[in-house]
Protein backbone atom coordinates (compact mmCIF):
# COMPACT_ATOMS: atom_id res chain seq x y z
CA UNK A 1 0.00 0.00 0.00
CA UNK A 2 2.76 2.41 0.95
CA UNK A 3 4.78 1.82 -2.18
CA UNK A 4 1.58 2.21 -4.17
CA UNK A 5 0.98 5.65 -2.68
CA UNK A 6 4.62 6.50 -3.25
CA UNK A 7 4.19 5.30 -6.80
CA UNK A 8 0.99 7.25 -7.20
CA UNK A 9 2.67 10.32 -5.83
CA UNK A 10 5.64 10.20 -8.19
CA UNK A 11 4.33 13.40 -9.63
CA UNK A 12 7.53 14.18 -11.51
CA UNK A 13 6.28 11.65 -14.09
CA UNK A 14 3.66 14.25 -15.00
CA UNK A 15 6.25 16.97 -15.66
CA UNK A 16 5.77 18.71 -18.97
CA UNK A 17 9.22 17.93 -20.34
CA UNK A 18 10.84 14.48 -20.73
CA UNK A 19 11.35 12.32 -18.74
CA UNK A 20 7.96 13.58 -17.58
CA UNK A 21 4.94 12.61 -19.70
CA UNK A 22 2.76 15.65 -19.04
CA UNK A 23 3.61 17.24 -22.38
CA UNK A 24 2.79 14.01 -24.22
CA UNK A 25 -0.58 13.81 -22.50
CA UNK A 26 -1.41 17.43 -23.35
CA UNK A 27 -0.43 16.83 -26.97
CA UNK A 28 -2.75 13.80 -26.95
CA UNK A 29 -5.51 15.96 -25.53
CA UNK A 30 -4.95 18.48 -28.33
CA UNK A 31 -5.34 15.70 -30.93
CA UNK A 32 -8.50 14.46 -29.19
CA UNK A 33 -9.99 17.95 -29.17
CA UNK A 34 -9.11 18.55 -32.81
CA UNK A 35 -10.76 15.29 -33.83
CA UNK A 36 -13.80 16.06 -31.66
CA UNK A 37 -14.26 19.59 -33.01
CA UNK A 38 -13.58 18.57 -36.62
CA UNK A 39 -15.79 15.49 -36.42
CA UNK A 40 -18.55 17.43 -34.73
CA UNK A 41 -18.52 20.10 -37.46
CA UNK A 42 -18.47 17.49 -40.24
CA UNK A 43 -21.34 15.80 -38.44
CA UNK A 44 -23.21 19.09 -38.27
CA UNK A 45 -22.91 19.63 -42.02
CA UNK A 46 -24.13 16.06 -42.63
CA UNK A 47 -26.84 16.59 -40.02
CA UNK A 48 -28.21 19.76 -41.62
CA UNK A 49 -28.14 18.15 -45.06
CA UNK A 50 -29.64 14.92 -43.73
CA UNK A 51 -32.43 16.64 -41.80
CA UNK A 52 -33.29 18.78 -44.81
CA UNK A 53 -33.30 15.71 -47.02
CA UNK A 54 -35.47 13.75 -44.61
CA UNK A 55 -38.02 16.56 -44.34
CA UNK A 56 -38.12 17.94 -47.88
CA UNK A 57 -36.41 15.31 -50.05
CA UNK A 58 -38.08 12.85 -52.37
CA UNK A 59 -39.07 9.35 -51.26
CA UNK A 60 -35.85 7.73 -52.51
CA UNK A 61 -33.60 10.21 -50.70
CA UNK A 62 -35.66 9.86 -47.54
CA UNK A 63 -35.35 6.07 -47.59
CA UNK A 64 -31.61 6.19 -48.18
CA UNK A 65 -31.19 8.62 -45.28
CA UNK A 66 -33.33 6.34 -43.10
CA UNK A 67 -31.02 3.45 -43.92
CA UNK A 68 -27.97 5.59 -43.09
CA UNK A 69 -29.21 6.79 -39.70
CA UNK A 70 -30.57 3.38 -38.73
CA UNK A 71 -27.40 1.52 -39.68
CA UNK A 72 -25.06 3.92 -37.91
CA UNK A 73 -27.13 3.93 -34.75
CA UNK A 74 -27.47 0.13 -34.63
CA UNK A 75 -23.78 -0.76 -34.96
CA UNK A 76 -21.22 -0.15 -32.18
CA UNK A 77 -19.07 2.94 -32.72
CA UNK A 78 -15.96 0.78 -32.35
CA UNK A 79 -16.97 -1.41 -35.31
CA UNK A 80 -17.98 1.62 -37.40
CA UNK A 81 -14.66 3.29 -36.69
CA UNK A 82 -12.74 0.23 -37.85
CA UNK A 83 -14.88 -0.18 -40.98
CA UNK A 84 -14.85 3.49 -41.95
CA UNK A 85 -11.18 3.90 -41.12
CA UNK A 86 -10.11 1.11 -43.48
CA UNK A 87 -12.80 1.73 -46.08
CA UNK A 88 -12.19 5.47 -46.08
CA UNK A 89 -8.43 5.24 -46.52
CA UNK A 90 -8.82 2.46 -49.12
CA UNK A 91 -11.35 4.42 -51.12
CA UNK A 92 -9.21 7.54 -51.09
CA UNK A 93 -6.15 5.60 -52.25
CA UNK A 94 -8.10 3.98 -55.08
CA UNK A 95 -9.34 7.40 -56.08
CA UNK A 96 -5.77 8.68 -56.12
CA UNK A 97 -4.75 5.72 -58.28
CA UNK A 98 -7.58 6.51 -60.69
CA UNK A 99 -6.46 10.07 -61.20
CA UNK A 100 -2.91 8.81 -61.58
CA UNK A 101 -1.41 10.03 -58.34
CA UNK A 102 0.45 7.68 -56.03
CA UNK A 103 -1.06 6.35 -52.83
CA UNK A 104 -1.31 8.97 -50.12
CA UNK A 105 -0.63 8.48 -46.46
CA UNK A 106 -3.72 9.72 -44.67
CA UNK A 107 -2.96 11.07 -41.25
CA UNK A 108 -4.80 9.52 -38.35
CA UNK A 109 -6.14 12.96 -37.53
CA UNK A 110 -7.96 13.40 -40.86
CA UNK A 111 -9.23 9.83 -40.87
CA UNK A 112 -10.44 10.27 -37.29
CA UNK A 113 -12.32 13.46 -38.17
CA UNK A 114 -13.97 11.70 -41.11
CA UNK A 115 -14.99 8.70 -39.02
CA UNK A 116 -16.36 10.68 -36.07
CA UNK A 117 -18.09 12.99 -38.54
CA UNK A 118 -19.98 10.16 -40.27
CA UNK A 119 -21.10 8.74 -36.92
CA UNK A 120 -22.09 12.14 -35.52
CA UNK A 121 -23.89 12.99 -38.76
CA UNK A 122 -26.43 10.21 -38.25
CA UNK A 123 -27.29 11.29 -34.73
CA UNK A 124 -27.33 15.00 -35.57
CA UNK A 125 -29.66 14.32 -38.51
CA UNK A 126 -32.20 12.89 -36.08
CA UNK A 127 -31.79 15.71 -33.54
CA UNK A 128 -32.13 18.45 -36.18
CA UNK A 129 -35.06 16.75 -37.87
CA UNK A 130 -36.91 16.60 -34.56
CA UNK A 131 -36.11 20.25 -33.85
CA UNK A 132 -37.29 21.36 -37.29
CA UNK A 133 -40.55 19.52 -36.77
CA UNK A 134 -41.05 21.13 -33.34
CA UNK A 135 -41.59 24.57 -34.89
CA UNK A 136 -45.37 25.06 -35.03
CA UNK A 137 -46.59 25.06 -38.60
CA UNK A 138 -48.89 28.00 -37.98
CA UNK A 139 -45.91 30.26 -37.27
CA UNK A 140 -44.36 29.42 -40.63
CA UNK A 141 -47.68 29.97 -42.40
CA UNK A 142 -48.11 33.29 -40.60
CA UNK A 143 -44.65 34.36 -41.75
CA UNK A 144 -45.51 33.42 -45.33
CA UNK A 145 -48.76 35.34 -45.04
CA UNK A 146 -46.72 38.39 -44.05
CA UNK A 147 -44.96 38.02 -47.39
CA UNK A 148 -41.58 36.82 -46.10
CA UNK A 149 -39.36 35.00 -48.58
CA UNK A 150 -38.38 31.43 -47.69
CA UNK A 151 -34.89 32.63 -46.66
CA UNK A 152 -36.48 35.17 -44.35
CA UNK A 153 -38.78 32.52 -42.91
CA UNK A 154 -35.75 30.32 -42.24
CA UNK A 155 -33.75 33.12 -40.64
CA UNK A 156 -36.50 34.78 -38.64
CA UNK A 157 -38.84 31.94 -37.70
CA UNK A 158 -37.57 28.42 -38.29
CA UNK A 159 -33.98 28.73 -37.01
CA UNK A 160 -34.76 30.69 -33.82
CA UNK A 161 -37.79 28.50 -33.24
CA UNK A 162 -35.94 25.21 -33.57
CA UNK A 163 -32.87 26.28 -31.59
CA UNK A 164 -34.23 25.61 -28.08
CA UNK A 165 -35.26 22.12 -29.24
CA UNK A 166 -31.94 21.41 -30.96
CA UNK A 167 -29.52 22.69 -28.32
CA UNK A 168 -29.95 19.96 -25.66
CA UNK A 169 -29.55 17.16 -28.21
CA UNK A 170 -26.65 18.83 -29.98
CA UNK A 171 -24.93 19.55 -26.66
CA UNK A 172 -25.29 15.93 -25.66
CA UNK A 173 -23.79 14.87 -28.99
CA UNK A 174 -20.81 17.18 -28.46
CA UNK A 175 -20.09 15.44 -25.15
CA UNK A 176 -20.41 12.07 -26.91
CA UNK A 177 -18.03 13.26 -29.64
CA UNK A 178 -15.34 14.18 -27.11
CA UNK A 179 -15.60 10.72 -25.56
CA UNK A 180 -15.87 8.82 -28.85
CA UNK A 181 -12.44 10.12 -29.87
CA UNK A 182 -11.04 7.69 -27.28
CA UNK A 183 -12.14 4.82 -29.55
CA UNK A 184 -9.63 5.97 -32.17
CA UNK A 185 -6.98 4.54 -29.83
CA UNK A 186 -7.97 1.16 -31.25
CA UNK A 187 -6.85 2.13 -34.78
CA UNK A 188 -3.66 3.72 -33.46
CA UNK A 189 -4.45 7.44 -33.57
CA UNK A 190 -2.20 9.08 -30.97
CA UNK A 191 -5.02 10.72 -29.04
CA UNK A 192 -5.24 11.11 -25.27
CA UNK A 193 -6.33 7.60 -24.30
CA UNK A 194 -3.69 5.86 -26.42
CA UNK A 195 -0.77 8.05 -25.31
CA UNK A 196 -1.95 7.55 -21.74
CA UNK A 197 -1.69 3.80 -22.12
CA UNK A 198 1.73 4.18 -23.69
CA UNK A 199 2.85 6.39 -20.81
CA UNK A 200 1.47 3.89 -18.31
CA UNK A 201 3.06 0.95 -20.09
CA UNK A 202 6.48 2.58 -20.22
CA UNK A 203 6.55 3.77 -16.61
CA UNK A 204 4.27 1.09 -15.08
CA UNK A 205 2.39 3.91 -13.32
CA UNK A 206 -0.93 3.06 -14.91
CA UNK A 207 -3.01 4.50 -12.10
CA UNK A 208 -1.33 7.88 -12.13
CA UNK A 209 -1.63 8.39 -15.86
CA UNK A 210 -5.16 7.08 -16.28
CA UNK A 211 -6.29 9.28 -13.40
CA UNK A 212 -4.56 12.29 -14.97
CA UNK A 213 -6.16 11.58 -18.35
CA UNK A 214 -9.53 11.09 -16.68
CA UNK A 215 -9.17 14.51 -15.06
CA UNK A 216 -8.37 16.05 -18.45
CA UNK A 217 -11.48 14.49 -20.04
CA UNK A 218 -13.56 15.56 -17.06
CA UNK A 219 -12.28 19.13 -17.34
CA UNK A 220 -13.32 19.21 -20.99
CA UNK A 221 -16.79 17.94 -20.03
CA UNK A 222 -17.23 20.39 -17.16
CA UNK A 223 -16.09 23.40 -19.20
CA UNK A 224 -18.41 22.26 -22.00
CA UNK A 225 -21.27 22.02 -19.50
CA UNK A 226 -20.79 25.63 -18.43
CA UNK A 227 -20.77 26.79 -22.05
CA UNK A 228 -23.79 24.61 -22.88
CA UNK A 229 -25.78 26.08 -20.00
CA UNK A 230 -25.09 29.60 -21.30
CA UNK A 231 -26.04 28.72 -24.87
CA UNK A 232 -29.17 26.99 -23.68
CA UNK A 233 -30.20 30.00 -21.60
CA UNK A 234 -29.68 32.22 -24.62
CA UNK A 235 -31.63 29.90 -26.93
CA UNK A 236 -34.52 29.57 -24.48
CA UNK A 237 -34.83 33.24 -23.59
CA UNK A 238 -38.44 34.25 -23.32
CA UNK A 239 -39.59 30.67 -22.82
CA UNK A 240 -40.87 29.17 -19.57
CA UNK A 241 -38.12 27.58 -17.42
CA UNK A 242 -37.80 23.80 -17.46
CA UNK A 243 -38.06 21.86 -14.17
Amino acid sequence: MIDWIANLASWELLALNPPGWGGVLLKGLAVSLQVAVGGYLVGFVIGVAGATGKLYGGPVLRDILDVYTTLVRAVPELVLILLLYYAGTDALNQLMMLIGAGPVDISGLVAGIFVIGVVQGAYQTEVLRGAFKAVPHGQIEAARAYGMSSMQVLRRITLPGMLPHAVPGLANLWLIATKDTALLAVVGVAELTLVTRQAGGTTKSYFLFFMAAGLLYLTVTLISNVAIRRIERHARRGMPAVR
Binding site: P59, L175, M211
Partner: protein, 260 residues
Amino acid sequence: MGPELRSWKEPHRLVLLAIGIGIIVFAAVNMRWDWLPRYSWRLVEGVGTTLWLLVLTSVLGFLLAVPLGLAQAAGPWWLSGPARMFCTVIRGTPLLLQLWLLYYGLGSLFAQYPEIRESWAWPYLRSAWPYGVLALTLSFAGYEGEVMRGAFAGVPKGELEAARAYGMSPWTSFRRVWLPRAIHRALPTLAGETVLQLKATPLVATITVVDVYAIISRVRQDTYLTYEPLLLLALIYMMLTGVLVLAFRWLEGKVPVKGG
Protein backbone atom coordinates in the same frame (compact mmCIF):
# COMPACT_ATOMS: atom_id res chain seq x y z
CA MET B 1 -37.98 4.73 -39.73
CA GLY B 2 -40.58 7.46 -39.66
CA PRO B 3 -43.64 7.28 -37.46
CA GLU B 4 -45.88 6.70 -40.46
CA LEU B 5 -45.31 3.18 -41.68
CA ARG B 6 -45.04 3.47 -45.41
CA SER B 7 -45.69 0.50 -47.63
CA TRP B 8 -42.99 -1.80 -48.95
CA LYS B 9 -44.85 -2.07 -52.23
CA GLU B 10 -44.19 1.43 -53.49
CA PRO B 11 -42.17 1.20 -56.72
CA HIS B 12 -39.10 3.09 -55.48
CA ARG B 13 -38.98 0.82 -52.42
CA LEU B 14 -38.91 -2.26 -54.64
CA VAL B 15 -36.05 -0.78 -56.66
CA LEU B 16 -34.11 0.07 -53.49
CA LEU B 17 -34.80 -3.40 -52.13
CA ALA B 18 -33.54 -4.93 -55.37
CA ILE B 19 -30.37 -2.82 -55.16
CA GLY B 20 -29.91 -3.89 -51.53
CA ILE B 21 -30.31 -7.57 -52.41
CA GLY B 22 -27.96 -7.03 -55.35
CA ILE B 23 -25.27 -5.65 -53.04
CA ILE B 24 -25.69 -8.60 -50.68
CA VAL B 25 -25.50 -11.12 -53.53
CA PHE B 26 -22.45 -9.31 -54.93
CA ALA B 27 -20.78 -9.42 -51.49
CA ALA B 28 -21.65 -13.08 -51.03
CA VAL B 29 -20.28 -14.08 -54.43
CA ASN B 30 -17.28 -11.82 -54.83
CA MET B 31 -15.96 -11.65 -51.29
CA ARG B 32 -14.21 -14.40 -49.42
CA TRP B 33 -16.37 -16.27 -46.96
CA ASP B 34 -14.59 -19.66 -46.89
CA TRP B 35 -13.41 -18.97 -43.32
CA LEU B 36 -16.97 -18.80 -42.05
CA PRO B 37 -17.61 -22.53 -41.38
CA ARG B 38 -14.35 -22.84 -39.45
CA TYR B 39 -15.28 -20.04 -37.09
CA SER B 40 -19.05 -20.42 -36.95
CA TRP B 41 -19.16 -22.21 -33.60
CA ARG B 42 -16.73 -19.77 -32.00
CA LEU B 43 -18.83 -16.89 -33.34
CA VAL B 44 -21.91 -18.35 -31.67
CA GLU B 45 -19.96 -18.61 -28.43
CA GLY B 46 -18.78 -15.02 -28.86
CA VAL B 47 -22.34 -13.80 -29.32
CA GLY B 48 -23.21 -15.74 -26.17
CA THR B 49 -20.46 -13.95 -24.23
CA THR B 50 -21.63 -10.58 -25.56
CA LEU B 51 -25.23 -11.24 -24.53
CA TRP B 52 -24.20 -12.60 -21.16
CA LEU B 53 -22.12 -9.47 -20.52
CA LEU B 54 -25.01 -7.26 -21.66
CA VAL B 55 -27.62 -8.88 -19.42
CA LEU B 56 -25.39 -9.18 -16.34
CA THR B 57 -24.03 -5.63 -16.46
CA SER B 58 -27.40 -4.06 -17.31
CA VAL B 59 -29.13 -5.80 -14.40
CA LEU B 60 -26.32 -5.07 -11.92
CA GLY B 61 -26.01 -1.52 -13.24
CA PHE B 62 -29.71 -0.91 -12.83
CA LEU B 63 -29.68 -2.26 -9.26
CA LEU B 64 -26.88 0.21 -8.54
CA ALA B 65 -28.68 3.03 -10.34
CA VAL B 66 -31.71 2.89 -8.01
CA PRO B 67 -29.81 3.90 -4.83
CA LEU B 68 -27.73 6.37 -6.87
CA GLY B 69 -30.86 8.07 -8.17
CA LEU B 70 -32.56 7.99 -4.79
CA ALA B 71 -29.52 9.47 -3.05
CA GLN B 72 -29.41 12.33 -5.54
CA ALA B 73 -33.15 12.99 -5.48
CA ALA B 74 -33.80 12.78 -1.76
CA GLY B 75 -30.62 11.93 0.14
CA PRO B 76 -28.79 14.10 2.67
CA TRP B 77 -25.83 16.07 1.29
CA TRP B 78 -23.27 13.46 2.35
CA LEU B 79 -25.06 10.89 0.19
CA SER B 80 -26.22 13.05 -2.70
CA GLY B 81 -22.80 14.70 -3.12
CA PRO B 82 -20.82 11.50 -3.72
CA ALA B 83 -23.62 10.04 -5.84
CA ARG B 84 -23.70 13.13 -8.04
CA MET B 85 -19.92 13.10 -8.30
CA PHE B 86 -19.92 9.43 -9.29
CA CYS B 87 -22.42 10.06 -12.09
CA THR B 88 -20.51 13.12 -13.30
CA VAL B 89 -17.18 11.27 -13.41
CA ILE B 90 -18.64 8.22 -15.15
CA ARG B 91 -20.50 10.32 -17.71
CA GLY B 92 -17.63 12.76 -18.19
CA THR B 93 -14.88 10.30 -19.12
CA PRO B 94 -14.66 7.74 -21.94
CA LEU B 95 -15.64 4.18 -21.05
CA LEU B 96 -12.47 2.90 -22.73
CA LEU B 97 -10.39 4.95 -20.30
CA GLN B 98 -12.37 3.68 -17.30
CA LEU B 99 -11.95 0.12 -18.52
CA TRP B 100 -8.20 0.47 -18.97
CA LEU B 101 -7.87 2.25 -15.62
CA LEU B 102 -9.53 -0.71 -13.89
CA TYR B 103 -7.77 -3.42 -15.88
CA TYR B 104 -4.24 -2.06 -16.08
CA GLY B 105 -4.35 0.11 -12.96
CA LEU B 106 -6.12 -2.20 -10.51
CA GLY B 107 -4.67 -5.27 -12.17
CA SER B 108 -1.07 -4.14 -11.76
CA LEU B 109 -1.89 -2.95 -8.24
CA PHE B 110 -3.27 -6.33 -7.14
CA ALA B 111 -0.31 -8.16 -8.64
CA GLN B 112 2.05 -6.35 -6.28
CA TYR B 113 0.70 -8.04 -3.17
CA PRO B 114 1.57 -11.66 -2.39
CA GLU B 115 -1.41 -11.83 0.01
CA ILE B 116 -3.76 -11.16 -2.89
CA ARG B 117 -1.82 -13.38 -5.26
CA GLU B 118 -2.17 -16.32 -2.87
CA SER B 119 -5.82 -15.76 -2.02
CA TRP B 120 -8.79 -17.64 -3.46
CA ALA B 121 -9.81 -14.56 -5.45
CA TRP B 122 -6.61 -14.40 -7.48
CA PRO B 123 -7.73 -16.66 -10.37
CA TYR B 124 -10.63 -14.24 -10.88
CA LEU B 125 -8.60 -11.09 -10.39
CA ARG B 126 -6.03 -12.37 -12.86
CA SER B 127 -8.56 -12.92 -15.62
CA ALA B 128 -9.94 -10.03 -17.58
CA TRP B 129 -13.71 -10.47 -17.45
CA PRO B 130 -14.27 -9.22 -13.86
CA TYR B 131 -12.77 -5.87 -14.86
CA GLY B 132 -14.95 -5.77 -17.97
CA VAL B 133 -18.07 -6.56 -15.95
CA LEU B 134 -17.15 -3.97 -13.31
CA ALA B 135 -16.46 -1.20 -15.85
CA LEU B 136 -19.63 -1.88 -17.85
CA THR B 137 -21.73 -2.11 -14.67
CA LEU B 138 -20.42 1.18 -13.30
CA SER B 139 -20.96 2.84 -16.66
CA PHE B 140 -24.57 1.68 -16.90
CA ALA B 141 -25.16 2.72 -13.28
CA GLY B 142 -23.72 6.18 -13.94
CA TYR B 143 -25.94 6.91 -16.93
CA GLU B 144 -29.07 5.24 -15.57
CA GLY B 145 -28.48 6.76 -12.11
CA GLU B 146 -28.95 10.16 -13.65
CA VAL B 147 -32.19 8.97 -15.28
CA MET B 148 -33.42 7.50 -11.98
CA ARG B 149 -32.69 10.80 -10.21
CA GLY B 150 -35.07 12.53 -12.56
CA ALA B 151 -37.57 9.68 -12.27
CA PHE B 152 -37.61 9.78 -8.46
CA ALA B 153 -37.84 13.56 -8.42
CA GLY B 154 -40.66 13.51 -10.98
CA VAL B 155 -43.09 11.31 -9.05
CA PRO B 156 -45.92 13.69 -8.08
CA LYS B 157 -45.79 14.82 -4.45
CA GLY B 158 -49.51 14.11 -4.05
CA GLU B 159 -49.02 10.38 -4.58
CA LEU B 160 -46.44 10.21 -1.80
CA GLU B 161 -48.65 12.30 0.49
CA ALA B 162 -51.58 10.02 -0.28
CA ALA B 163 -49.46 7.01 0.67
CA ARG B 164 -48.56 8.67 3.96
CA ALA B 165 -52.19 9.58 4.56
CA TYR B 166 -53.05 5.90 4.18
CA GLY B 167 -50.75 5.31 7.16
CA MET B 168 -47.93 3.65 5.21
CA SER B 169 -44.53 3.73 6.85
CA PRO B 170 -41.80 5.49 4.84
CA TRP B 171 -40.41 2.11 3.75
CA THR B 172 -43.81 0.78 2.70
CA SER B 173 -44.64 3.90 0.72
CA PHE B 174 -41.24 3.70 -0.93
CA ARG B 175 -41.74 0.05 -1.82
CA ARG B 176 -45.35 0.38 -2.95
CA VAL B 177 -45.54 3.83 -4.50
CA TRP B 178 -42.30 5.76 -4.98
CA LEU B 179 -40.05 3.03 -6.42
CA PRO B 180 -42.59 1.45 -8.79
CA ARG B 181 -43.70 4.84 -10.07
CA ALA B 182 -40.09 5.95 -10.59
CA ILE B 183 -39.18 2.75 -12.45
CA HIS B 184 -42.31 3.17 -14.53
CA ARG B 185 -41.21 6.68 -15.49
CA ALA B 186 -37.69 5.48 -16.33
CA LEU B 187 -38.84 2.57 -18.50
CA PRO B 188 -38.90 4.42 -21.84
CA THR B 189 -35.21 5.37 -21.47
CA LEU B 190 -34.26 1.82 -20.54
CA ALA B 191 -34.51 0.53 -24.11
CA GLY B 192 -32.15 3.21 -25.40
CA GLU B 193 -29.71 2.72 -22.55
CA THR B 194 -29.64 -1.04 -23.12
CA VAL B 195 -28.90 -0.59 -26.83
CA LEU B 196 -26.09 1.80 -25.88
CA GLN B 197 -24.82 -0.81 -23.43
CA LEU B 198 -24.83 -3.47 -26.16
CA LYS B 199 -22.78 -1.15 -28.34
CA ALA B 200 -20.34 -0.60 -25.47
CA THR B 201 -19.66 -4.30 -24.88
CA PRO B 202 -17.06 -4.77 -27.69
CA LEU B 203 -14.70 -2.49 -25.76
CA VAL B 204 -13.98 -5.37 -23.40
CA ALA B 205 -12.18 -7.10 -26.27
CA THR B 206 -9.38 -4.56 -25.78
CA ILE B 207 -8.66 -6.17 -22.40
CA THR B 208 -8.69 -9.72 -23.87
CA VAL B 209 -12.26 -10.74 -23.01
CA VAL B 210 -13.35 -13.06 -25.82
CA ASP B 211 -16.67 -11.69 -27.03
CA VAL B 212 -17.92 -11.74 -30.62
CA TYR B 213 -15.79 -8.70 -31.49
CA ALA B 214 -12.66 -10.49 -30.26
CA ILE B 215 -13.50 -13.56 -32.38
CA ILE B 216 -13.81 -11.34 -35.45
CA SER B 217 -10.45 -9.75 -34.61
CA ARG B 218 -9.01 -13.27 -34.49
CA VAL B 219 -10.49 -14.00 -37.92
CA ARG B 220 -8.95 -10.81 -39.29
CA GLN B 221 -5.55 -11.74 -37.94
CA ASP B 222 -5.74 -15.31 -39.20
CA THR B 223 -7.07 -14.60 -42.69
CA TYR B 224 -5.66 -11.11 -43.40
CA LEU B 225 -9.14 -10.09 -44.51
CA THR B 226 -10.31 -6.60 -43.58
CA TYR B 227 -13.86 -6.07 -44.76
CA GLU B 228 -15.60 -9.46 -44.73
CA PRO B 229 -15.27 -10.14 -40.99
CA LEU B 230 -16.09 -6.54 -40.08
CA LEU B 231 -19.18 -6.51 -42.30
CA LEU B 232 -20.36 -9.74 -40.73
CA LEU B 233 -19.74 -8.22 -37.30
CA ALA B 234 -21.77 -5.12 -38.19
CA LEU B 235 -24.57 -7.41 -39.39
CA ILE B 236 -24.48 -9.41 -36.13
CA TYR B 237 -24.72 -6.26 -34.01
CA MET B 238 -27.50 -4.91 -36.20
CA MET B 239 -29.51 -8.07 -35.63
CA LEU B 240 -28.85 -7.99 -31.89
CA THR B 241 -29.94 -4.33 -31.74
CA GLY B 242 -33.07 -5.17 -33.72
CA VAL B 243 -33.97 -8.02 -31.38
CA LEU B 244 -33.39 -5.78 -28.34
CA VAL B 245 -35.56 -3.00 -29.74
CA LEU B 246 -38.37 -5.44 -30.56
CA ALA B 247 -38.12 -7.06 -27.13
CA PHE B 248 -38.40 -3.70 -25.38
CA ARG B 249 -41.29 -2.65 -27.59
CA TRP B 250 -43.08 -5.84 -26.60
CA LEU B 251 -42.26 -5.22 -22.94
CA GLU B 252 -43.51 -1.64 -23.05
CA GLY B 253 -46.73 -2.87 -24.61
CA LYS B 254 -47.21 -5.11 -21.56
CA VAL B 255 -46.83 -2.25 -19.06
CA PRO B 256 -49.88 -0.02 -18.84
CA VAL B 257 -49.01 3.64 -19.37
CA LYS B 258 -51.76 5.45 -17.51
CA GLY B 259 -50.84 8.91 -16.31
CA GLY B 260 -47.18 8.26 -17.14
